[in-house]
Symmetry: C2
Subunit: 356 residues, 2 copies
């Protein structure tokens, strides 16, 4: 079943406003959430709306947060999200990073006391129209085991970097620091197919290809999969994301990050407040004239895109290409939602008296 962007955006906005979110903030949240649906990161879009609502019902999300800077220097800030929706806290923090970049060349903001912020790429891409490079990181509920560990100590901790070009579309990397994101496992589960080697381990720490391996107490594996294929690098990257997002800001880190699902309680002995994010903005012209930079980016992108392909592949892609293609297609033809997601949205519609 396909739904239009406008339909889903409007429903998300009205629902969040109905339960107490100020209208401008509800709009921001809907923008962020829907960008995931448009860009094909279905697990981070409207499919999560009922999850956010359940967290609000548990008192874990504050819909009228007093988001504020609690520490700063000319190029840095720490922001307290006051338990607000990450969907709202994150764009606020990115604006602060960009305002600092305007003044001193770059801005770097670490955030505590927040919640799940949707797709990382949305926030990084905010920098593009200002001719800035954007960086967006977040930690997340622990689902990933470090190399040699059988415990879940890290989230899928994504890294997004957005870099402007001129004639070419921008370079937009947006990736979990695991071999595969959890959403891909969910797809395999629905199809009843095995997972490739190197994606997950079972709860005893042994490699498994069962698509329910993580549900059954196992863990996702860091990018690389195992030691011989460089999983210690994925582990290091996920750790850097965790430390920048949470140890710098005073949020919870590692296994203490509160779970996204409302039926699991946060650790009774937290090491910080909420979950953490980290944002960066670098003015391109803090390094060289923006038009010079962007025309070299065009050249970079063209050279890579036109490179000779390996057998069986038609094209070398630039980070951001697949999502951009999908976004155009879904704006045109609508966003396909799975039946359980539609049911969820209808239930929210009835419960809160907001037309779907």
């Amino acid at each position: 079943m396909n739904y239009t962007f406008e339909q889903l955006h409007s429903f998300t906005l009205r629902l969040l406003h109905k339960i107490g979110c100020p209208e401008d903030q509800a709009k921001t949240a809907a923008d962020v959430l829907l960008s995931a649906d448009l860009r094909g990161v279905d697990s981070h879009g409207v499919a999560r709306l009922s999850g956010y609502v359940r967290l609000w019902e548990k008192g874990r999300i504050n819909l009228t947060p007093d988001i504020k800077i609690v520490h700063e220097t000319p190029s840095t800030a720490v922001i307290d999200g006051d338990a607000g929706l990450g969907l709202i806290v994150a764009p606020y923090a990115m604006e602060v990073a960009m305002a600092k970049a305007e003044k001193v060349g770059t801005g770097w903001v670490s955030v505590k006391n927040s919640n799940h912020y949707g797709i990382a790429g949305y926030h990084a891409m905010m920098a593009l129209e200002k001719d800035m490079i954007g960086l967006s990181l977040t930690n997340a509920s622990p689902l990933v085991s470090p190399t040699f560990s059988k415990e879940r100590l890290l989230g899928t901790n994504p890294i997004s970097v957005a870099i402007p070009a001129n004639q070419e579309p921008p370079f937009v990397a947006d990736m979990a620091t695991t071999t595969a994101a959890n959403g891909k496992l969910e797809i395999l589960q629905r199809k009843g197919e095995d997972a490739p080697e190197g994606w997950i381990q079972d709860k005893s720490g042994k490699p498994t290809q069962s698509p329910t391996g993580v549900k059954d107490g196992g863990a996702l594996l860091p990018l690389g999969g195992d030691r011989i294929h460089g999983s210690h690098k994925g582990y290091a990257l996920g750790s850097i994301v965790d430390i920048f997002s949470a140890v710098l800001s005073g949020a919870n880190y590692g296994p203490w990050v509160p779970p996204f699902v409302a039926f699991l309680d946060p650790d009774p002995n937290p090491v910080g407040e909420g979950i953490g994010h980290f944002f960066g903005a670098m003015r391109v012209d803090a390094f060289r004239p923006a038009d010079e930079f962007k025309s070299h980016m065009d050249n970079w992108i063209k050279r890579f895109r036109e490179s000779e392909t390996t057998p069986g592949n038609e094209k070398v892609l630039i980070p951001g290409d697949p999502e951009r293609i999908l976004e155009a297609e879904r704006m045109e033809n609508g966003i396909p939602l799975l039946e359980p997601v539609v049911q969820d949205l209808k239930e929210l519609s009835e419960r809160f008296g907001v037309e779907f």
Copy 2:
């Protein structure tokens, strides 16, 4: 054959000084080069000394460079390395980044017109004693194919991040953005052993396990190895390193990066000057009090190190642990050099009349 740190350091310093490097700069270069030997990155240590000398003989390295800032803002700078040794240009640039961080919280420096800078980790770790987080990136001669490409368009483009702790040793990630670094292939070649799947492809772009696959015209693969194991993420990371190091600064990028080996000439139509690096320094107390941050880092490190292990593994390691252990061991027992490396050094010794 083992050689003491002092012996190799002194030889490197005297040799570089003899051929024209000012003494203080020769000492810096020796510090950087030897830190690779101590930390077990043997391919980036004294084994490369004769390679640097050959580049100098070809007129591609300037031993008396006028390294200078060519553009800056309060938190950024672009540095022209004047074709100097990267071993000298990089610490200079990192000092600039740290000086900016002292003033405005963070400092970010992109470098053009440089050469190979040794191990990435050395430069990132310079930040530690100032209670800063250090970042060090560099591009390098193209040896790596993007996902779906059969051309070599990227270097092994490493990322190093160093983060201070209090009681615990620092967190130091230092990694190529490929599945395996080239040095590991050289070891397999000497042993006549096959490479694991996912490390390399042959010149037609098909996966190969031949340890000479890269020498024979193939390429190293980005971290992840293939698309299903996330190679598009390793490709994105290597690309970000390339763009920050070279498109921001005005150095050569992608396939235009000049080769390290002196027998291959640089592209006659360069897109920039020399190779590029990127450095960052963030004062920890630009975010929260340094002692607070460092005690949470201790907690982070302990929790991860003490985590339960997978079957057959004794310990979960923290990034930097293996190198630190090796460094202590090699300071005590000396640095093992392979026979061809010793021959190289002896030849340099005779040719330039510098006692080995």
